[in-house]
Structure formats: structure tokens, C-alpha cells
């Protein structure tokens, strides 16, 4: 079985997943994820020596043909903070 997930580990995973958790959420998820990861760890018992590491599935390719896509204003219609005149999505200042 995997070792329990510590509160700090849950915070680290949440940060990677871009989630903010309250302390109460951290404690709850730590206990639930410990149970789930423990159960998931049972796959270590499967003998996979004969199975090569998975390679990405090959997708069918098609010809790259120019076709009309989503109109720019339609694309902006659902944006929380669109710059319609410029035709851009706006985000909080980064620099």
C-alpha cells in the first residue's frame, strides 16, 4: 500500500492543478485521496513484465484543408473579459 498523503503533499498537488484549498478541504481530501491511492496501488500486484511501456495511440490523419472556423466575435462571446474592439481575450496583468 502507498503511504498516506500528507497535508503538504495535497497542497503541492493542488498547486500543480491550479486549485486553492482551505485547510479543512486539505484535511478531507488528504484522507479521501489516501484511501483512493491505496486502492489504486493494488495494480502493483499485476505482472506486466510481458507488456511493453505504452506508446501514444496512433491517430488517423486527414488532409489539412482550409475551412471556415468559429467567427472571431462568436469566439469572444463567452469570454469573461473580452477586448471586443481589438478582438482579443484579456487576462490580468502578468508583468
Amino acid at each position: 500500500m502507498a503511504s498516506p498523503l500528507s497535508d503538504d503533499e495535497v497542497r503541492r498537488i493542488a498547486a500543480l492543478a491550479r486549485l486553492d484549498l482551505t485547510d479543512a478541504e486539505v484535511r478531507r481530501f488528504a484522507s479521501q485521496l489516501t484511501a483512493i491511492v491505496g486502492y489504486a496501488s493494488t495494480i502493483q500486484d499485476a505482472d506486466t513484465t510481458a507488456i511493453p511501456p505504452a506508446s501514444p495511440a496512433a491517430a488517423a490523419m486527414r488532409d489539412d484543408v482550409v475551412a471556415p472556423g468559429l467567427d472571431r466575435q462568436e469566439g469572444l462571446a463567452a469570454a469573461p473579459d473580452p477586448a471586443r474592439e481589438a478582438g482579443l481575450f484579456r487576462v490580468p496583468k502578468v508583468l
Partner: protein
């Protein structure tokens, strides 16, 4: 003309011969949804104006080749419908209007179907009870204190309650089959790659398929054959020729070999479910099918593998909800703070849990032990099914180990909720076609479903096996 209890095929025929109009059928359907949806919370959005405009248009210009002419259909709310609110059961898409139609929606409308509304589901299809919807749970029409199953619980309840004859769901690890079973109706998951995923809001891309829900196997096949087909907009949608699912419905079960993995029924299966299942097996035997015992030796790994693979894919797919292009945005410190604030406000607990589990399985130090190992064990599971299906035309199992469970019963124990999928995730991991059909009732009058799994691309045999049982056991009556 009263069309409420007619099969979809008969509604289309009645419209075609002028016994009733598309507009009348649509009005009647919208009226009963308005009147009755409050009891079930099956629909999140009712598409009144869009549906009526479309019905009038079809009455004026009925297309020649339209097998679903005027048939009202409910569509799960993780399938994009142009101009209609599409939430995926999530606060983060609370008021999102899809700017385009999913390919399955285009195909339905080309066949004359009328979308009357969008149905409730677990958030981003992550759940087995529809309780993880941000918009409240759906209730089971057989017993409103119980869940309809999930994640396509709204579509299943809408069909079971007689609000619509047919619906679309999506199935990643059982999300069409399990709610169909728990609501006493039929539901199908096609072979992976058979139906386009374009416009299906992505959960786990190597597993997701859209599938039909209906009161009869004939209607199920009718809808499946409409949504079936290649699509250049989905590179995983296979261009090969298909045998229609309605092709062999009338063929008998005689001559078929059906495999039963008896070792999976030993524990964890409700007694009444086991009895209903055994009665179905006996029916096939009496019909002249050969019943053989098969083994799926790696079955005990199916749930852990599924929850590692699906959550890893989900953690990647759901990265797109960042408060920039669509959906909710809430303020935070700078750009990264805005991302985290938006996602933490917009996602519910189950989605957060699965994103974190998937992120964990993909993260440095854990990737090999979890994600890479799960991919290898998935190959073992796939090989098990290939061996079992080399000696049988189809496999039989209960769809769900239990009948519908009470609302709230599993909400505090995510692992217990995951075990609801014990029989459905295997065919999903192997990419195989599977259908759930009603096979009886428990002593407490709750429906039991039989899951029939077939060889890849041999969906037509699965439908043939399902139809053979249905002929012996007419659709269940709720009262």
C-alpha cells in the same frame, strides 16, 4: 393523437402519414416536461423556442430521409448545442452558450429529431449517481428517494419517466449503461471510435463515447445508427465501414455462444440482482444459445486502472477551464491567482478530487508506478476480453452489482461510489461495445439491468442479443 408512450419509430411514422404534426408532438412533450420535471430534476434547460421553431420548420419542409422525423430527444448537458446553454453540470459553465453543435447533434437534427432540452449529469460526467451535479441531484422515477445512477442520470430519468422516448448520454466508464440499468430502460455504449466526440465536453478522451438511451432496443438501435459514423473533426472516430446496429435485431439468440464470467459474481453482488441475472442466462439457454463459462483474470484491477487513466486524462482535459476564454472567472492575485480562484470556485468536490488524483498519477515520482503501470495493466484487461470473446460471441454480466441506491448513501465515501462501476469499466478500458437491457426487478421493485458486451466493431451482435431477451421480457412497467 397521444404519442407519449409510443416508440420513437412509431412517432416518426405517425408524423409521416399525417396523423399528428411535429409541432403537436413537440408542444405535448414540452408541456409534460414543464409539468413533471420538478419531480425528477431530469432537465437543466428546456429548449422550448428552439424546439418549436424547428418543429414548424420540419412540418413545412419534411426531409425525405428522416428516420427520427419529429421525434423529441433529450441531450445530456455535456454535449454542445449551438445557441443553447450547455453546463456539463458545472458551475464553471453555469451560463455558457455553446457556439457550435456537436457532430451527434447535427446528425440527430439531420435525421429529423427535435432536441427538447438538456439533461442533468454529474459534473463533467464524473460520478455514478448524478448527485455530483452543481444543479442538484436527479431522482429515480422508480423511487424518488433513490439515485437514477449516473453520470447520464438526467437522460435516463427523462426516458424512464416517459418525458421523452429517447435521449443521448455519454459513457466513459458506464455512465450510459449504469443509469439505464437503474432506471429500467436500455442504454448503449458503442465501440470506441464509432461515434464522433466532436462537441462532447471532454472528460477522458481515450474512453469517452456518446451513446443512446431508450425504452426499447429497437429505438436504441435507431438512435445509435443515426449518430454513428466517421467524422473528420474527431481523429479517433474511425472511418471504416460499419454494420448498422439495427441490422440483426430480428435474428434469434439460437446459434450464439454467450460467455458468463462466473467468478465475478461470487461476492459483492446483491442477491436479487444475481437472481435476475441468472434468470436472463436461463432465458438465453432456453432460446437455444450456448452458455459457456469464461474468465477475466485481471478484472480486479479494472476499477483502479480506470480511475487512474480517466483521472489523468481529466486533469489534462480540464486544464482549459482557466477563466480566460469562456465560463466563470473570479478574481485572484495576478494571472495565476485568477486561475486558481476561478477553478476552486467553479469546480465541485468530485471534480477537484479527480483532477488531483490524476495530477498525482502523472506527477514526477509517481508517473511510473501509477499512470504508466495503469496503461500496461489496461493492456492485460484488453487481452482478457479478447481471449474471452474468442470463444464467445458476447459476454453477460449484471450492469450494476446493486439496484439504485438511496440519495446521499455514498456521497461521503468516494471509493464506495467508484465500486458502482465494477462491471462497466472493463468494456470501457477495452474499447468494446456494450448495451444494458432490463432483465427483471428486485423484491423491492427496483429494476435490474443485464450488460451484454461484444467484440470490437461487432455492435450489431450486442443489439441482437439484447433484442432477443427483450422479446421474452417486454419493457418493465413502473407500476
Amino acid at each position: 393523437m397521444e404519442t407519449r408512450h409510443l416508440p420513437a419509430a412509431d412517432i416518426a411514422a405517425a408524423i409521416r402519414r399525417g396523423a399528428v404534426t411535429c409541432e403537436q408532438v413537440t408542444r405535448d412533450t414540452l408541456d409534460r416536461i414543464e409539468a413533471e420535471n420538478g419531480r425528477w430534476n431530469a432537465f437543466l434547460t428546456i429548449a422550448g423556442d428552439r424546439a418549436l421553431a424547428r418543429a414548424r420548420d420540419l412540418d413545412r419542409h419534411p426531409p425525405a430521409d428522416a428516420p427520427l422525423l419529429g421525434v423529441p430527444i433529450a441531450v445530456k448537458d455535456n454535449i454542445c448545442t449551438r445557441g443553447l446553454r450547455t453546463t456539463a453540470g458545472s458551475r464553471i459553465l453555469d451560463s455558457w452558450i455553446a457556439p457550435y453543435d456537436a457532430t451527434v447533434v447535427t446528425r440527430l437534427e439531420s435525421a429529423g429529431a427535435i432536441i427538447v432540452g438538456k439533461t442533468n449529469c454529474d459534473e463533467f460526467a464524473m460520478g455514478s449517481s448524478t448527485e455530483h451535479s452543481a444543479f442538484g441531484p436527479t431522482r429515480n422515477p422508480w423511487d424518488p428517494t433513490r439515485t437514477p445512477g449516473g453520470s447520464s442520470g438526467g437522460s435516463a430519468a427523462a426516458v424512464a419517466a416517459g418525458l421523452v422516448p429517447v435521449a443521448l448520454g455519454s459513457d466513459t466508464g458506464g455512465s450510459v449503461r449504469q443509469p439505464a440499468a437503474l432506471c429500467g430502460i436500455a442504454g448503449g455504449k458503442p465501440t470506441y471510435g464509432r461515434v464522433s466526440r466532436y462537441g462532447l465536453i471532454a472528460f477522458a478522451s481515450s474512453l469517452d463515447q456518446v451513446g443512446p438511451i431508450a425504452r426499447s432496443v429497437r429505438d436504441l438501435a435507431l438512435v445509435q445508427d443515426v449518430i454513428d459514423g466517421a467524422d473528420p473533426r474527431d481523429s479517433t472516430c474511425d472511418p471504416r465501414d460499419r454494420v448498422a446496429c439495427s441490422m440483426h435485431l430480428a435474428m434469434p439468440a439460437r446459434g450464439l455462444t454467450l460467455g458468463v464470467p462466473e467468478h465475478l459474481l461470487a461476492d459483492g453482488v446483491d442477491d436479487d440482482v444475481r437472481h435476475a441475472f441468472e434468470a436472463a442466462v436461463d432465458t438465453y439457454r432456453a432460446l437455444g444459445a450456448t452458455i459457456v463459462s469464461v474468465a477475466l483474470p485481471h478484472s480486479r484491477f479494472a476499477i483502479p486502472v480506470y480511475y487512474l487513466v480517466a483521472t489523468a486524462e481529466a486533469s489534462s482535459n480540464l486544464a482549459r477551464y482557466d477563466g480566460v476564454r469562456y465560463g466563470l472567472r473570479t478574481a485572484g492575485a495576478g494571472l495565476a491567482g485568477m486561475y486558481a480562484s476561478t477553478r476552486s470556485t467553479g469546480f465541485g468536490d468530485e471534480v477537484k478530487r479527480r483532477i488531483m488524483l490524476g495530477t498525482y498519477a502523472l506527477s514526477a515520482g509517481y508517473y511510473d508506478a501509477f499512470y504508466a503501470k495503469a496503461q500496461q495493466v489496461r493492456e492485460l484487461i484488453r487481452a482478457d476480453f479478447a481471449v474471452a470473446l474468442s470463444s464467445a460471441d458476447a459476454l453477460l454480466l449484471p450492469t450494476s452489482p446493486t439496484p439504485a441506491f438511496p440519495l446521499g448513501a455514498r456521497m461521503d465515501d468516494p471509493l464506495q461510489m467508484y465500486l458502482a462501476d465494477v462491471f462497466t469499466v472493463g468494456p470501457s478500458l477495452a474499447g468494446l461495445p456494450a448495451v444494458s437491457v432490463p432483465c427483471g426487478l428486485t423484491a423491492g421493485r427496483l429494476p435490474v439491468g443485464l450488460q451484454i458486451t461484444g467484440r470490437a466493431w461487432n455492435d450489431a451482435t450486442v443489439y441482437r442479443v439484447a433484442a432477443a431477451l427483450e422479446r421474452e421480457r417486454p419493457p418493465l412497467a413502473r407500476n
